[in-house]
Amino acid sequence: MKPAPFEYFAPTDITEALDLLAHYGDDAKILAGGQSLMPLMNMRLARPRVLLDINRLTELAYISRGPDGALTIGALTRQRAVERASVVQTHLPLLAAVMPSLGHFQIRNRGTIGGSLAHADPAAELPALCLALEAELMLRSAERQRTVKAADFFLTYLTTAIEPDELLVDIRFPAWNPQWRWGFQEVCRRQGDFALVGAVALLHIDDDAICREAHLAMFGVGGTPIRLHRAEALVRGQRLEARGLEEVEQAVAAELQPDTDMHASAEYRQEVGGVIARRALEAALG
């Protein structure tokens, strides 16, 4: 098996990459870690006319923490580098903990954080994580640069707000609230495989055991990851206990509108989605 013919460019700096994107636009496909694009090209489901290999743009592989505590991660940072970084383990523990679920370690050795987000597989963990953490994605073209909120970034299956002449350059995670408690749950056939359904929950519980803030995001339940705003409203302001979240489970299941595919039926995803969301909240409550 081999990919269909393409014109190959491996720019060595970002200006060169953006100039090539400006020139080729829609005809060009960006090759980062290649863990999603290469399978598609090997099977000829993707036949880009121009392949723009950005692996030499080492300036896009970094993790930095700003004075405000926000963590900015360059799009070309390998997934393995993210999970191994002590700054991530310390200042964004949820991200470090979820990374091993993205794929098998051989995949994470090559796969990049930006690649997973730009590919926008609805069953992928990172997009939902970015929603829950309210991350911002920085896009650059030869002409301009703009920031898109995670909530506005994922449009539908495998489709994002990235324009044909734009490159995702970094992802900015707001400072981690030390009060956050988190839970992450997913159902998959093998550890490291794509999830059928998953949920990530962030809770801020105050000293009186009242939930002050709640973020609940899910994946594998439609064309994009989603925030469960109604379920969040149900728990906000409430005294939460690990038992007694059945009402939230039902509210989540009622809010979900998943699709059927070869991996699972819509009914399955809806029912399991409620359970998984409840378990993520329970895990956050500890």
Binding site: E7, L31, R110
Partner: protein, 156 residues
């Protein structure tokens, strides 16, 4: 319209310089150009793990890389494990524990285990099982594979 590029790389300690078609995968390059046919191709889309090699010391799927991306890289394939007639401790452990039947998946398991043990020299059984979760064996031989890797980690 497909182009060609010259690449230089080292595989199992030996330097090579070749001109490759840019669309050739690294796995095909190893097998067809360097005749290192120990790297096996199962699914060719990153699921089965049979084509796992070490790329600058890290385990990767060679079917998901282009040969042109290995310019200046240092690779190790299953042919690089044994020293002459002397098998690598992992190979000896696989032999002793009957950790292969047809052998098709074995190169991928060996290279995965090789990279894993370098990072985690004293793993638990659960860690071994997670490490090999991205490699598929269709003869259903996981238990002996796990035992072999644990055995090798204890000094063979």
């Amino acid at each position: 319209m497909t182009g060609q590029r010259s690449i230089q790389l080292r595989v199992n300690g030996q330097a090579y310089e070749r001109t490759v078609e840019t669309r050739q995968t690294l796995a095909d390059f190893l097998r067809e150009e360097l005749h290192l046919t120990g790297t096996h191709l199962g699914c060719e889309h990153g699921i089965c793990g049979a084509c796992t090699i070490l790329f600058n010391g890290e385990a990767v799927r060679s079917c998901l890389l282009l040969a042109v991306q290995a310019d200046d890289a240092e690779l190790m394939t299953v042919e690089g494990l044994a020293q002459g007639e002397s098998l690598h401790p992992l190979q000896r452990a696989f032999h002793a524990h009957h950790a292969l039947q047809c052998g098709f998946c074995t190169p991928g398991f060996l290279m995965t285990a090789c990279a894993f043990l370098q990072e985690e020299p004293h793993p638990t059984e659960a860690q071994v099982r997670e490490a090999i979760s991205g490699n598929i064996c269709r003869c259903t031989g996981y238990a002996p594979i796990v035992q072999a890797i644990l055995h090798a980690s204890r000094g063979g």
